[in-house]
């Protein structure tokens, strides 16, 4: 918006129709426990990396379902895979497995 001296605002809305949920379908195949997350936040509360960073596993879990790939790709690098989340998860989500699969999925999709 050069000529008008202000910028178009980025829409915060999750545009569900246009998001790519391939990651979710991939995870449903290889690690179906991903579907069990109820976003209770126990993982985030205990997260070793989350103590020092913005890593928020329950948000990543939700973003997987919403197809917010850019957010996931940005945040997932902060995970140290320590596995505390797995110990506290009330729904027995195989969190480390999910994260590893996300990493390898993103790697193969070049994000």
């Amino acid at each position: 918006m050069k000529s008008f001296q202000y910028l178009k605002k980025i829409d915060r809305t999750i545009d569900y129709d246009n998001n790519d949920r391939a990651l979710f379908y991939y995870l449903m195949r290889v690690e179906p426990t991903v579907a069990l997350c109820i976003a209770c936040g126990a993982c985030t509360a205990t997260c070793s990396a989350g103590n020092f960073s913005t890593l928020d596993l329950h948000k990543i879990m939700l973003s997987i379902r919403r197809g917010e790939k850019v957010y996931i790709a940005k945040e997932i690098t902060q995970c140290v895979l320590c596995g505390k989340c797995q110990l506290v998860c009330p729904k027995n989500v195989n969190t480390r497995g999910v994260i590893l699969q996300i990493m390898s999925f993103l790697q193969s999709s070049q994000l």
Binding site: Y16, A35, A39
Partner: protein, 342 residues
Amino acid sequence: MKTDVVVIGGGIAGLEASTALHNLGHHVILIEKKDILGGHVALWDKLFPNNKNASSIIHYLKDHLPQNLTILLSTEITNISKRNNSFFIETNFHQTIETKSVLVATGYDVFNAHLKEEYGYGIYDNVITSAELEEMFKNNKPILTKQGKEPSRIGFVHCVGSRDRKINNLYCSKVCCVTAVKQAIEIRQKLPFSETYCFYMDLRMYGLNFEELYNESQEKYGVTFIRGRLSEASETIDGKIIIKVEDTLLGRPLKMTMDMLVLMVGMVPSAGTSFLINKLDLLSNNGHFIASSDEHLLANYTNVNGVFVAGTASSPKSIDDTFADARSAVLAIHQYLTSQKM
């Protein structure tokens, strides 16, 4: 006509109570305004959480009805009054029934979804209520949009008409959460290539095996639950519904196009319940359901001596709760009638 007890309402509470009261030796008249018995349950297909046929419940109740029980179908009460210790009930057939006691089992109506006008019920083609969806299941109708296509994305909006100050219904209707889970699973079973979404404020999976059903819906059927109250729905040029919610767990607004939107309508007191509240000067809870004399100890008693209440006339209840409530009402009436005889 003279009788010991008039049971008003031929739903499951009324049927169960009439049978039990009759078996205890009281003379019972059961009044039902429709021409069939069974109330709402007769309109349903499968029950949560175990997928049992709703009709099996009605069959059981009908099979156990005493043969000489007086049942007045298609009968509406035009007036009811209390004189001395008796109630006089006038019907649309100009009968007058004199009774020692009355059991109000008038149940509920489903919430009028027109009142949540921002959801577009009655305006958008593909917004339906959960009751209508259940009817489609019951009658084995194909699940199709108004445009005649199989919907590929279906949303369930929880708490329509419940827990909403805007329409002055503060209470939780109790059964809609698990009904949504049940119906979402059924949709996935009938339309395996569809996606189903539930938009909820809280998920109240209070009953036995409800949580299991919820887990199954997620893991096996891939139902997606989005925590956020639907704020507005609008129709697209091709008759789909665009919904706007906040994904409160992500803290971001979310926009999604749906082929069909199902409103999980809650329970409101039925017209009959309101009528009786007026005519008998019954106390009510915030102008809604009939108030019990004491919700713990005297759940089936009302402020009027000789008037008892059972089932969803006093609060939203599941089928199990309704049966328990009806049975406890039977004991209350039995006690009342026996003490009167003495």
